[in-house]
Symmetry: C2
Subunit: 343 residues, 2 copies
Amino acid sequence: MEQNQRIILVERPQGMPDERHLKLESAPIPTPGEGQVLLKTIYLSLDPYMRGRMSAARSYAKPVEIGEVMEGGTVSQVVASRHPDWKEGDIVLARSGWQLYALSDGEGLRRLDPDLAPISTALGVLGMPGFTAYVGLLELGQPKEGETVVVSAASGAVGSVVGQIAKLKGCRVVGIAGADDKCDYVVDELGFDAAVNYRDEDFESKLRAACPDGIDIYFENVGGKVLNAVIGLLNDFSRIPVCGLIAHYNDTALPPGPDQLPRLMRAVLTHRVMIRGFIQFDFAPRFPDFLRDMGEWVRTGKVKYREDIVEGLENAVSAFQGLLTGRNRGKLLVRVSPDPTRS
Amino acid sequence: MEQNQRIILVERPQGMPDERHLKLESAPIPTPGEGQVLLKTIYLSLDPYMRGRMSAARSYAKPVEIGEVMEGGTVSQVVASRHPDWKEGDIVLARSGWQLYALSDGEGLRRLDPDLAPISTALGVLGMPGFTAYVGLLELGQPKEGETVVVSAASGAVGSVVGQIAKLKGCRVVGIAGADDKCDYVVDELGFDAAVNYRDEDFESKLRAACPDGIDIYFENVGGKVLNAVIGLLNDFSRIPVCGLIAHYNDTALPPGPDQLPRLMRAVLTHRVMIRGFIQFDFAPRFPDFLRDMGEWVRTGKVKYREDIVEGLENAVSAFQGLLTGRNRGKLLVRVSPDPTRS
């Protein structure tokens, strides 16, 4: 008899999470009660923010508890319904987490139309990562024509969209990534003006050469040495929307010195820099605008996207490790069960 | 025959400036040409930003050149005029720098009325430092009733005004200063709710105790250990206007580790913090509003101020050293020549 498959947080990781912390187990498939639907996961989204949910530290969302299924956004299909609004076969955006089957009372579900866009895009370019790029760049970055925009994790789900929107707004766009093929991709396929590999020995001088007029917007996804290199290039009134710090998510202590904080603060003071952390859900009222604009940009080919799809829930942990070290190419998804909309 | 006295930047300081870098010399008194006035300095303002002008580093204003008179704001009297708008005896706000006599073509002069307020206040509470406090707190800090505002260098020319305006806006105000009598002053005389001495061994726990609801606005004047202590107390959507970094002005290298920058960035991300450097002159259009509001607050005793007046230009360098180490009590001024409006 078919069973549910699910990945449980059994121990909080220090450093890189692995199978000791995230355990795959079988369980009975739950039965929907009155007002509930049973969802079967097609795609599970893997995103850097999940590392934060594995830790007990104070953050913008409460951590996953020990013994609970790991959280995560999914594209799922309704396979049984005792809810008046949902019927068997519906494809929905859900938050079923790292598991094959999940119950829902309908709260927070959004119906997807497979004829409008591939259903997987609801987890990427037309979903949370795309929206993060959209509000972070447009609301906080406020790009103006001719400005220089630098984006870290440039080939990732967020960074790739940031750069393409910045191009649409008439900016010079410089991507930073950790592999030469990622750099080639954002220039050749996505139309960035330049890209620099942060693993290069002369990364700082290459970044400087790629930004002859300095930096007006730095879209921060990573922290670490990339941020350190950016500090010296910031222009007057530049802006740094802070969306992620993936270089630090597995830190177990503060890095050794020198202390770079006074250097950043001096740049902030003398150049009147604005730094602002944000979480996309703080901008929820802008979501309809996003769907309209991004839907149009994707349809007309102005914004391109790439997906990196891993087969099977049993490969989710190793895929997530790869996400934290930059192994993926494009938006990382786990295909937990076959996609009925793709032949 | 009377001579001009002036202090020249003869060498760029590394670390604390002293008489090797700033040299007092005599020179002939200049003679005004057509369209010029001769000004005699009454008060010279000493301000932390001047340390930046002594260095060659890229900043928001060009450095003072070697061999030039040190820059600075002054309250001066017109002692000879060949300019139609100014007459002998006029008291003006000027930028004569660190010297007794200076020529001016009238550009940037502002006439002061000794009957409205003591003329020295044009360099303090009713001048640049007061305006810095006003725009930094109100425009960037956006204080709301009931919020907690922490201000560093709390007894200084800027910090003391920040705290008092925040009280007028209904905030809980916590001052940070480097001496117990400064802490007493801001609580007992200025009405702050609490104050903490950053030189105390248990500074961090005292600051935490003084901010039971966390920090909504941190007005940054100093950097260093004060900023490090603030990071752990920042609330969601808190704001950090950055006005100065006096703890670092004499740094000759980055401080040793650990690297505190990732800690700050993590707080920025998870709490959606806004950090923004600013220079008061970027907000020049707000100056008339400031003069109206602050004039009223000072007249009605809602905002109090204190001045630390040092006698004689020959004591300016040592007084400036004291400013960088916190020796002054209140707005630091040098009385370069007698104040004709005070008996």
